[in-house]
């Protein structure tokens, strides 16, 4: 008997978060029922888990996202061997998988959520022995064990961890001409002062709903300090856009929210980052997803996201003095070469962009525009780039 490998599509399109979570809960029940059926047939129970290896990942050029292929790994209950050298036994991992699935199901049933660290501690408990006593071994010793199991459940039941009710860190803020409902509270994001609305870890439709908006696009700004300048100058008001930051590499909550605004409200997404390999990488993750979390791409990646800056041409275009640039380090050059090799940067324009940075041998921070004046970035730089359509796809 085969376990059905549920494809991510099934929960990808739903607008109702509660329904999505319930559906994910149902798939966990399905997983459990299959295992019970195996046992009743006196088979060795197993779970088929989609493989998250490089060989099972592919860049879909048409959709423009990194996707998981159909490869799975079978995890048996009656096996004391690991799948790879140094790995725990399949029996132990099977047990861990079921226990994490159980916690996720409870979180769904109680409309609750928790952090990956809390979940780890919640399951840092002794394994019961066959005679019902408390054993010496723990279900999890380290969070490094429980995090991959959470990912296993995500791919197996085709749900984002946020739908399961598990989250990582929180970072970032957003303001703009939009009213949302966050956990029952109606929040006018155009009246959020200088601080803004802190973007939570979980922004699924059962928590966050879009009520109305006048935004014409979403602008993701790499740095919180630069975002503050955009908020201070009320760029979002003049330019009718949502401004959001994720304090560097945006956390999942910020990425997922951007995805939802793009998918549900059909808002174009612009990304504004430093001109360095790290900036290109931040854009790359928003656009295509990351390779090691390819299974999320379908509900996290925005292939149409536009790179609005900073470009390696901007120092010249905006007549910035050479002394505000910084030399590329060896590490920068190595990363630039690597990023230039990503299939989604294969276009002539992108190759030119990255190679130009390498040829100049320098990088450029957003704050360097303050060499002109503090509001140059909001009053001249970005408006001109948008007007002249100087972005890369």
């Amino acid at each position: 008997m085969e376990l059905a490998v549920v494809k991510a599509k099934s929960s990808g399109q739903g607008r109702s978060g509660r329904r999505d979570r319930a559906a994910a809960g149902q798939r966990i029940v399905g997983l459990a029922k299959n295992i019970v059926a195996h046992i009743q047939h006196r088979d060795d129970p197993y779970v088929d888990i989609p493989s998250r290896t490089l060989s099972n990942v592919r860049f879909d050029e048409r959709k423009g996202i990194i996707e998981l292929l159909d490869g799975t790994q079978r995890r048996y209950f009656f096996s004391l061997l690991g799948r790879r050298k140094g790995e725990g036994s399949q029996a132990k991992k099977f047990m861990q998988t079921i226990r994490v699935a159980e916690v996720c199901k409870k979180l769904i049933d109680t409309s609750d959520s928790t952090s990956i660290r809390d979940l780890f501690y919640n399951l840092k408990v002794p394994i019961k022995t066959t005679d019902g006593k408390t054993g010496k071994e723990l279900i999890f010793e380290e969070q490094a064990e429980s995090d991959p199991i959470i990912e296993d459940i995500e791919v197996t039941v085709a749900a984002l961890r946020e739908e399961l009710g598990v989250h990582a860190e929180t970072k970032g803020a957003m303001v703009g001409p939009m009213t949302i409902i966050d956990n029952g509270d109606t929040i006018d994001l155009s009246a959020m002062g200088s601080g803004g609305w802190a973007v939570p870890s979980i922004v699924e439709p059962d928590v966050i709903r879009f009520v109305k908006h006048k935004a014409e696009y979403v602008l993701l700004i790499e740095k919180g300090a630069v975002w503050q300048r955009f908020n201070k100058d009320r760029f979002w008001e003049t330019h009718k856009c949502m401004i959001i930051h994720g304090g560097g590499q945006p956390p999942r909550g910020v990425r997922r929210l951007i995805y939802r605004m793009h998918d549900e409200l059909k808002l174009p997404v612009y990304v504004l980052v430093d001109n360095d390999p790290w900036g290109y990488y931040i854009y790359s993750v928003v656009k295509q997803g990351s390779i090691n979390l390819a299974f999320e791409s379908q509900r996290m990646a925005v292939p149409q996201a536009r790179f609005i800056g900073m470009s390696s041409r901007d120092a010249e275009r905006f007549e910035l003095p050479a002394h505000v640039t910084m030399p590329l380090t060896e590490e920068d050059r190595r990363r630039a070469k690597e990023i230039r090799g990503y299939p989604w940067f294969a276009s002539k324009e992108w190759q030119r962009e990255i190679k130009h940075m390498e040829a100049l041998g320098v990088k450029l921070e957003l704050e360097a525009l303050s060499n002109k004046r503090f509001s140059f970035i909001t009053e001249e730089y970005l408006p001109r780039k948008l007007a002249e359509k100087r972005w890369l796809d």
Copy 2:
């Protein structure tokens, strides 16, 4: 002719941020006028800058804060020698000081603010030569030069950098039964959903005003993920308190806001951190300020802040299993010993607390309470600690 060394007291008590900023602006003008007077008298112009050295810092036991003493360093214009080996000439530093002061004055006059990195780039410009031409040397080469000059201005004109309009990073969020005005927008912090209000970098009274509140105390939670649990369980509603986090070590905006709620609204402050030396240190900074920024203590430190947990007694008190604790590292032991030597931890109770952790040889994270259940921290742990008054001062 002596420059008046303005004491921090003069701007510490004011409730009107605009007045405070204006007063700081006036002190910058005073500084400049003194220099002009020196020049008109054909004296060598200088600035007296309060010393930020360990020998010029003292723990005031009565007030319970770290304070700057009266020692100053005189920075002359006509001196090509540095004060210390390897330091730039006094002439250059004098010039840098005046240029940073000039930018701060402009920020004040235009009700503007900027980040320390933007300020650096703004002054990364060539020095004009005596014949008015563009020279080769830059005012600042590195941010490592401009940051200390900002601190020089802060102590010299006795203003926090936030009053001057200069800020660092933004982190953290707050919710609770309070209505504030943030930059003209009225925000009900009890209707901020799951995300909360993102605490801005600058929370001076000209930006943030407290309108009304029903809070009985302020609870600072070390970690964002734990804060989310408190928000999810609406702890702030049941317990009538403000909950705030700073994403680890709280940034200046969060510290300053806590200070203001304590000082202006007379709210007691409770600090909830991991039981490890880093947690003690976070509490220590909230309570007494940090040694290298002693001049801010008067308007940042809350000597009455209470350490509500986690205590090294909590694992036993709440019957947590030994396997959720973690062994202290060598670095932990070194830090614990250092922190135990701080004069504000000299009390019998504090010595007992830290020594008990050292004797147990383990540390304990807030998330370890999830080993009981996810809401144990909000429903049992903290209510019991508050009811039993189990905090340290």
